[in-house]
Assembly symmetry: C2
């Protein structure tokens, strides 16, 4: 066995403790090699590596990075020493071996996100991931100044997931060419057998920055916002498949990557549903880490009951109009539901981009109370055509501050997630029966709430503390006295002294009710 | 070849025009034979018949009916002469042959119902089937007097589909033993290899009566309302499968049969989801006519995206709370959606059985405007424990008259079905763009409606007539003048003279807007 010919590059490495390279658990280990640069190394050269630790073994596909350089990346999911050996159809790349040590992760590294408790998400270390997403579809194609500005905005935003396209976007307010293209060639004359490493270096730099901000990257692999302008929406099947395999080989070792097969998949008229099924299969079979997989629709929803769909990603302009609508799809899918597009806060003429800020916040709360998750986007028109929804830049709306308040509420909620408490009967109450309740009043303006909780997990004599949340003013007001449960009838408990909570008669109020010992 | 040994019995036969037996297209042809009566004919004797007409050929399973009698039933789907020949493992039943002629159906016979226009239903002759269903789960187990009373009630009701169980029901208000049981034996000591022909004769008599009333029979094959009292909910797999095959052999030739694998399937804890998949496969593969197939849930929805599910049958206590909720599942399933249980009109203490009549009617209208269908049930408590929902009898509620009004509106609507007009934007408007609109105001109490229609299929200068429907008072009031379309903006057309419709400011109003030449 030969040692790797190039240096071992260790990205996301917090420390190098010994001669043996180390990388954090769920960090990105990268081994580089030199090999052929003639012919077409992208298609002519096969490179894989087998990573082993004890009985665990992972086969990982490498990739050509131009200039005779080849890399294999690996995300160790367990700590301790890992060994690897390469396999290639080219002798100079075959049989290289090495070792590294995966060490405990740093404080901000919780590992990749996956499904937890059927309807929710958690990082690999068990920390709940409570999705508060936004969209900047084409942010990595706006040049360094705008892209750095976007990162700065994200750093102080409430958002922990970003939907973003790999391919550039051609659409209203999006007519600018990107600095990098993914293939060699020119528009509609790409050599899709030859990737452009610069494009991917840039993408990976931005991905790493998102990761370091603690933001999950919901990578959109295809989208229809091209219509033949560059032609990335109408490549042939072999090009589509090669592109997917290359992307997964390069990016799967980033722990914060989610795979979104498409945005508005059904608007890509060149593709059939069978194509999308195939894309899922390619991604699923190529990704050693089983990152989250879904697909976002225009007007036709994909069959998210398919086993290769890990969670539901839906555009629906009305589904979070109330919590009951939001929760309907939980029963259908038995998976986490993310309403990734529910229209955007903004003021453009299109009906999908003119939500008021309070309506956007209202929709997030409806989604939360429905036991689901919501995505934000912002479309305020302006002369320079920089709309956050697509290009990033700065946030101008009033909703992000309220979504930060919402996220704080979420962060203080039960680790198992917020679930409906009294399905079909009370759409406004969610939480964890017996311990924690959120009651959201939406647009109604109550002046009083008689303490009443559905019977599940309750018995007489339990004590609860109540806080009044003004979800728009972002205030939390504790109610002075505690409440004590007493069975009222076959369905409900009330306060033993029949106490009520006085409310300020405004819209967008909520109650947080927590059990006290 | 031998001729059938027994007489040819022709049920549902409107005429006998010649020496050759005739049966209506979509009628029920039955050939009877004598064979072994010793041993266990239900399991020992195999009997099939092949029915042919030109190149068409159908293999149909026969059944043992006790007393040495065997039958094969067949529903001809095309007119003209049909030939058949039997196949059996017993020589006396093998090789019998015969012919009959299928003639044009009588006026009330439109054939079986199947899916049409993705979200709707039609009879085989193309007549739209606009579902207005009800439930009398155990009506065939109440004795002749009650059963005849139920049929009389149904005859003057608006309902064109009835959900009904094959097995008897043991539940609150349902503790009476039926007159017939499906197997030989006694409770929890059934010989499930021996069916009780009397039970099935009785079932078939009632089925034929429903058919003759023009009511589709949504046959519930399993249900949990037994809990071991008789034990039909916890038979072994072989018994379940044998029962399904016997039921399909006897009943598939009834044109008005729908197969509902279960009521509240998920409440039958003895069964797994794989069992339900298997039941679908058995029914699908045994039924030569591909009758509609679905399954009704308790709190866990079955995966209705499976290809063997023809339409969605759902219990949800809140899904028809507004039209938007109702329509959400259309996008998910791309199949007809029938909300078969949305709680019941009644006054029992249980929250699923105390809807007011106006709420029940409201839910039907919400379903209609959402492009879906709804089921009725009635649970008014009374001393004799005869609740329509389960036992039948008489209807006491105020909703059926309003559902008759609704059905008349449906019957006068476009053949293609009522679909949402402006998805995600206007949940209150449905119909067929450019031709026919229903606008339902639900619980709001408008005094005026400015004539406004979404742009699809419209252009300037089209004329529309408007009627005001009071869905509770059951009145139709034409608006005197016609309205003429004029483009208002990128989304809407208004009246050229900006006319409005004056409304009486009551709840439960609707507008019916029809294009005039």
């Amino acid at each position: 066995m030969k040692a790797p010919l190039l240096v071992l590059l260790l990205l996301a490495l917090s420390q190098i403790a010994s001669a043996q390279p180390t990388v954090e658990r769920w960090g990105l280990f990268e081994a580089g090699f030199t090999g052929p640069s003639t012919g077409n190394p992208f298609t002519d050269v096969a490179l894989k590596a087998t990573f082993t630790q004890g009985n665990a073994s992972h086969d990982v596909t490498g990739f050509y990075d131009g200039g005779g350089k080849y890399f294999v990346r690996f995300m160790p999911e367990t700590i301790g020493e890992w060994r690897f050996v390469t396999h290639s159809n080219r002798p100079e790349l075959d049989g290289s071996s090495g070792t590294f040590t995966a060490v405990a992760p740093s404080a901000a590294n919780h590992g990749p996100v996956s499904v937890a408790h059927t309807f929710h998400f958690a990082y690999a270390d068990g920390t709940p991931f409570r999705q508060v997403g936004t969209t900047c579809y084409a942010w990595i194609h706006q040049g360094d100044a705008r892209e750095e500005q976007t990162l700065k905005t994200l750093a102080s935003s409430p958002f922990n997931k970003l939907r973003m396209c790999i391919f550039p976007k051609f659409y209203e307010w999006n007519k600018n060419d990107p600095a990098y293209f993914p293939f060699e060639g020119t528009a509609n004359h790409w050599d899709t057998t030859r990737f452009n490493p610069e494009f991917f270096h840039h993408l990976e730099k931005r991905l790493a920055q998102l990761r370091d901000l603690g933001i999950e990257a919901d990578l959109i692999l295809f989208h229809p916002y091209d219509k033949g302008h560059w032609g990335f929406d109408r490549m042939d099947a072999a090009s589509d498949d090669r592109y997917l395999r290359y992307v997964v080989a390069r990016l799967a070792a980033f722990r914060h990557v989610w795979w979104s097969m498409a945005n508005e998949y059904d608007f890509m008229k060149e593709k059939t549903e069978a194509d999308w099924d195939r894309f899922f299969h390619i991604v699923q079979s190529s990704d050693p880490y089983a990152h989250l997989r879904s697909i976002h629709n225009g007007s036709k929803i994909y069959n998210h009951t398919q086993p290769w769909v890990t969670h539901v990603s839906i555009q629906d302009g009305a589904a979070v109009g109330d919590p009951e609508r939001a929760m309907l799809l939980r029963d259908v899918y038995r998976k986490p539901i993310v309403y990734d597009e529910v229209k955007y806060e903004g003021d453009i003429p299109q009906r999908w981009g003119k939500l008021s800020a309070d309506e956007m916040v209202f929709r997030f709360w409806n989604g939360l109370i429905g036991g689901t998750y919501v995505g934000h986007g912002e479309t305020y028109a302006n002369a320079d055509e920089i709309l956050w929804w697509s290009k990033g830049g700065v946030l101008k709306g009033q909703s992000p501050a309220r979504l930060a308040f919402l996220r704080k509420v979420m962060d203080e909620s039960p680790a198992e997630g917020i679930d409906p408490i009294d399905k079909w009967q009370d759409e406004n109450t969610a939480g964890k029966a017996g311990e924690y309740y959120l009651i959201y009043f939406g647009k109604s303006t109550p002046k009083e709430w008689p303490f009443t909780l559905y019977k599940d997990a309750l018995k007489d004599g339990q004590k609860f503390q109540v806080e009044i949340l003004d979800t728009w003013a972002m205030t939390v007001t504790p109610v002075g006295s505690t409440f004590t449960t007493k069975k009222r009838d076959n369905y409900f408990f009330e306060d033993a002294a029949k106490k009520s909570v006085a409310l300020p008669g405004k819209p967008y109020l909520a109650l947080r009710i927590r059990r006290v010992p």
